[in-house]
């Protein structure tokens, strides 16, 4: 992270543009949350850089909607080890779990974050683990603790130690500034990896989380680029006549599916092999075919097509001789499919009673349920654990980001302090 920040500074120098910082607000939680007390950790001043590890863990857990953290003002003591925890007392205060821990400075300059999770029902320790990080990665250590707690209690991995990318836009049309931003999943540590005065759109994470593919109009026409988020080095991979759009990575990271139109303006989906630039046409229809997304096993793509007269989602198996099959039948507008990490659900942009909302379609039954509540929601993207979807919405005329749990019960939003933010994409787990 430090390395990235340094290279960005070199890149932009003193003229480094200010960009939107996100603020996370939990807007809706489950009705019957798990009560957890995350007690302030013993600090290592000044090595911990002032980072409040317990506060980050608590906010991560609460942002999932599954947990309710105990307010610090209600805490009777400040234990930092299991031995110091009065099991009966914390249980009496209606807690299900307690988290305690200590931060200590190591002689080599690293920082050790030790955290214990205690189940108050059994009185037993569920986790007693230490994460050793550089002082600059204290937030990352806290996210990892939260991931572990989430996994132990909920049963599926957390997605707090992950990244998101999005586009931020500043200024009034037609003179707008566009930035491609990478941030932690909680909106912190936001960094612009690209700034342009012409539109940037459709960011897509490589499966290993090191690169973003996106569309830029910097040459007045569209082109598709791939950029390393650490070195910020970029290369143009498609600048053919007509539209170059909607890039998406194959699960092995070797190919991009993208939308090309040629000069006659017919949008179809193609597969671009990044190793040799070989192009294979996947669809051939006079309608608009776009917004491809791979099934997690790479055996098929889902895409938007208006061949039936309005946009709907189709599936195309990538075996030889397969034909596109229509997948969505609910409503007159379904677009921008994104497949869940387990391949069983599809998040789409759907027209619901006159409002554009995010729908989740079960691929086995074909049933669609509405996930979001806005009037102009768009750009759904699954968290890598499949438990949350991040999407773009509008609030008082400005674009904001929002995450919603897959059952629709809980949500939090990420507002920019300036300008608007759009097209969020949740990155994969990092190795």
């Amino acid at each position: 992270m430090k390395k990235l920040a340094t290279s960005l500074l070199i890149l932009f120098g003193a003229a480094s543009p200010a960009f939107a910082q996100l603020k996370l607000t939990i807007t809706q939680g489950v009705t019957d949350p798990i009560n957890i007390a995350v007690v302030p950790f013993a600090r290592a001043v000044p090595a911990d850089g002032g980072t409040d590890v317990a506060a980050i863990i608590q906010r991560d857990l609460e942002s999932s909607g599954r947990f309710k953290g105990m307010p610090r003002t209600d805490m009777l003591g400040a234990p930092t080890t299991k031995a110091e925890v009065d099991i009966a007392g914390w249980k009496q205060q209606r807690n299900d779990y307690v988290v305690v821990g200590r931060v200590s400075a190591l002689s080599n300059g690293d920082v050790a974050v030790k955290a214990e999770l205690i189940n108050l029902l059994t009185g037993l320790s569920m986790m007693d683990k230490t994460w050793t990080v550089k002082p600059a990665s204290m937030r990352k250590a806290a996210h990892r603790v939260a991931d572990e707690i989430y996994k132990l209690i909920i049963g599926v991995p957390g997605a707090f130690d992950t990244r998101i990318a999005y586009v931020s836009v500043d200024g009034k049309p037609p003179n707008q500034k566009y930035q491609l931003i990478v941030a932690d999943a909680d909106g912190e540590n936001a960094l612009a990896i690209l700034t342009r005065d012409r539109p940037l759109m459709s960011p897509a994470w490589s499966p290993d989380g090191t690169k973003l593919a996106y569309v830029s109009f910097e040459n007045r026409v569209s082109s598709v680029w791939v950029q390393d988020i650490f070195t910020t080095q970029r290369s143009r991979v498609s600048a053919r006549a007509g539209i170059n759009g909607a890039p998406t990575w194959s699960p092995d990271g070797r190919k991009l599916a993208l939308t090309l139109s040629g000069s006659n303006g017919n949008l179809d989906i193609y597969l671009l092999d990044l190793s040799n630039q070989q192009l294979t046409r996947l669809t051939d229809d006079p309608g608009i075919d776009t917004e491809a997304n791979f099934a997690p096993d790479g055996s098929a793509i889902y895409f938007t097509s208006d061949r039936p007269g309005s946009p709907q989602i189709y599936r195309l198996g990538l075996g030889s001789g397969e034909r596109p099959k229509r997948v969505t039948f609910t409503g007159t507008y379904n677009a921008r499919p994104r497949v869940s990490p387990d391949g069983k659900q599809l998040a789409v942009l759907t027209l619901d009673n006159g409002a554009y909302r995010i729908g989740i379609q079960d691929l086995a039954t074909g049933t669609m349920s509405i996930l979001s509540k806005g009037r102009q929601d768009e750009s759904p993207s699954f968290a890598p654990n499949g438990a949350m979807v991040i999407l773009a919405g509008r609030e008082r005329g400005q674009g904001i980001l929002q995450t919603v749990s897959i059952d629709g019960q809980t949500s939090f939003k990420l507002n920019a302090d300036a300008g608007e933010v759009r097209e969020p994409v949740w990155g994969p787990y990092l190795k």
């Binding site: 009034k172 049309p173 037609p174 707008q176 539109p199 759109m201 459709s202 109009f217 910097e218 040459n219 007045r220 026409v221 569209s222 082109s223 970029r234 290369s235 143009r236 991979v237 498609s238 600048a239 053919r240 006549a241 007509g242 539209i243 759009g245 909607a246 939308t259 139109s261 000069s263 006659n264 303006g265 949008l267 040799n276 630039q277 192009l279 608009i288 776009t290 917004e291 938007t304 208006d306 946009p311 507008y333 677009a335 921008r336 942009l349 027209l351 554009y356 102009q376 768009e378 750009s379 509008r394 005329g397 097209e423």
Partner: protein, 170 residues
């Protein structure tokens, strides 16, 4: 090779319009625009680098925007005369090129709206071709909902943003 082509084209366009009064220096290609790695098969859309100019004046010719109905890509009756005036001018001036920039309103999916904007640009392109304009004079680009003419989330803003802009090129 590509750099050479770009340079030659730039030189050619400079020579061609050396006598032009309102001259804007052509944008030098930025380093980042040079692709790295193997991009054989990438057909550079050089047309996109051409700069806009004032273009012809006149009651109809000074109108450069054609508006569209919601989810439609057919040129409305009230815009046919504007399209016809540009077609007439362009067929009389076969060296003049225009870029047709298609746009959509903000509702719906962004990449699908790129498709809708392109469909509108192609509708104007076809109308101009039918009225005698040569293919080489025309190029299209779609910005979808990415470059609205006006801000706002109401019918009035939507109507102003669903458009094709006819941009005369130097």
């Amino acid at each position: 090779m590509k750099k050479l082509v770009t340079t030659v084209l730039l030189a050619a366009s400079l020579a061609l319009f050396a006598g032009c009064k309102t001259k804007t220096p052509p944008q030098p290609p930025q380093q980042e625009q040079q692709p790295t790695g193997d991009v054989s098969g990438v057909n550079d859309a050089v047309v996109g680098d051409e700069t806009a100019m004032a273009g012809p004046s006149g009651e109809l010719l000074s109108k450069r925007i054609i508006y569209f109905d919601f989810d439609r890509a057919d040129i409305r009756a009230d815009s046919q005369s504007v399209a016809a005036a540009h077609a007439q001018y362009l067929s009389k001036n076969p060296s003049q090129k225009v870029r047709l920039e298609g746009h959509a309103d903000e509702r719906g999916s962004r990449e699908y709206n790129i498709g809708l904007g392109e469909r509108r640009g192609q509708a104007v392109r076809r109308a101009l071709l039918l009225q005698g304009v040569a293919e080489a004079q025309l190029s299209t680009v779609s910005y979808g909902e990415e470059r609205p003419a006006v801000a706002g989330s109401d019918e009035q803003a939507y109507a102003l943003n669903r458009r094709v802009e006819i941009v005369y090129l130097k």
